[in-house]
Subunit: 246 residues, 2 copies
């Protein structure tokens, strides 16, 4: 059950909890960062060969197919998520069960590679980035999101206070890339912390040009609608990155 | 005395304190981040037209001239720093007193633009970036450092503890760009906080390609030699950025 990368999504308790999140029940529109991520995708999806790394329930795969993608492939390590994705899906979408940590992707086989909140589970991200760079032709796009490095850095993640007693997100060990264990939906979920520099320099080294980056936090309208998002102005929740293969 | 940008360097107390820092007394080698910044500069400086924005005492200007730069210009708003720079300097270096917030730079007049820890004082950085983009020909380089956004973000800057009592740097208001007032060498020093995304997207918008980025923290050897640097592994002190004009 435990490979190089922890497959927490197939544990009963985690899967049950994850299935109840707005992003699982309502799909892309249930994810507060989706509109920002969508704005970083190609305006015209028609005709593209799309690959989704960590496709989960397949919401993005179906979205891409609806917009005229020529082919859509979703990859995930979770049997449970893929089973549900296949139930709800169009047979034109190909789902593959595979571990992103040991994935091989055919040369020049995709025009757009997308990944939402999956790379921070991958132990050997550099090997995956090499595969992605090989899979994209010149001009192909990689658009992805991860938990923001400021969120993944601390050894003990949780809100605290600054020296004046104001609410703050305490950061430590930021420059030490490596695994962090948190209790999110289940005890002992392991994620890989990487600094912003680690992510960006890895992409620059492997023939990607950075085109845009978002440190996502909620808009005022979003915070007004969902007060659980209010604190997220203090430190960005997600890092969204758009790159082009050069 | 106070323009759009605060010129704190010409205040007696601040100037006296700043003059005692290792980076003021020992020059580039007294700045712990210098070796990292130097590694981002062109290997061959000979023949380049170099412009240093916020040149202070002129250490970098002299370094560039020593390495064969064709011309070197240093710009700073501080009369006191320029006076000392000129005393110690080679007449081949041209020093100009000017505010980076209202600077005009001649078109295609530099091959390398360098700035160390000055941009976080600039109120209208976007106008300056437009000037820099115009001053560099295609292939010209901009290399700069600023205080890291994680350092400038909090309203009250200072070490605190996480929820478990471990030392941590408390971050809040990260997504709110704007002035922050700190007490560093003098009371009420005003710096401009900008998120990582603000810095990088501004450069990408204005015809720069990102080539490398460092979130600088001390090496183990540096921390062993200077224990005041030990905490800086928890959150990077400086952001170092290398870009090419496209």
């Amino acid at each position: 059950m435990w490979g190089v990368t922890q497959n927490i999504y197939d544990e009963d308790g985690f899967f049950a909890g994850y299935s109840q999140l707005p992003r699982s029940r309502r799909g892309l529109e249930g994810a507060p960062e989706w509109q920002s991520l969508r704005a970083m995708l190609p305006e015209e999806m028609a005709g593209l060969r799309v690959l989704d790394l960590g496709c989960g329930f397949g919401w993005f795969c179906r979205w891409a197919l609806d917009r005229g993608a020529r082919s859509v492939t979703g990859i995930d390590v979770s049997k449970k998520m893929l089973a549900r994705a296949q139930q709800e899906s169009d047979p034109a979408i190909r789902y593959i069960e595979a571990d992103l940590d040991s994935l091989t992707i055919a040369h020049a086989s995709a025009d757009l590679i997308y990944s939402s909140l999956a790379f921070h589970y991958v132990t050997n991200l550099e090997a995956l980035v090499v595969q992605i760079a090989g899979a994209l032709p010149r001009g192909g796009q990689l658009v992805f999101s991860v938990e923001h490095p400021m969120v993944t850095a601390p050894l003990h993640q949780g809100w605290s206070e600054d020296s004046e007693g104001a609410k703050a997100w305490p950061v430590n060990h930021y420059l030490e890339d490596g695994p962090r264990t948190t209790n999110w939906l289940a005890p002992r979920v392991v994620k890989q912390h990487r600094s912003m520099a680690t992510y960006l320099n890895m992409l620059l080294r492997h023939a990607f040009t950075l085109t845009h980056l978002e440190e996502w936090g909620p808009t005022e309208a979003q915070s007004a609608e969902d007060s659980s998002l209010l604190d997220e102005r203090h430190r960005p929740t997600f890092l969204l990155v758009s790159t082009v293969r050069r």
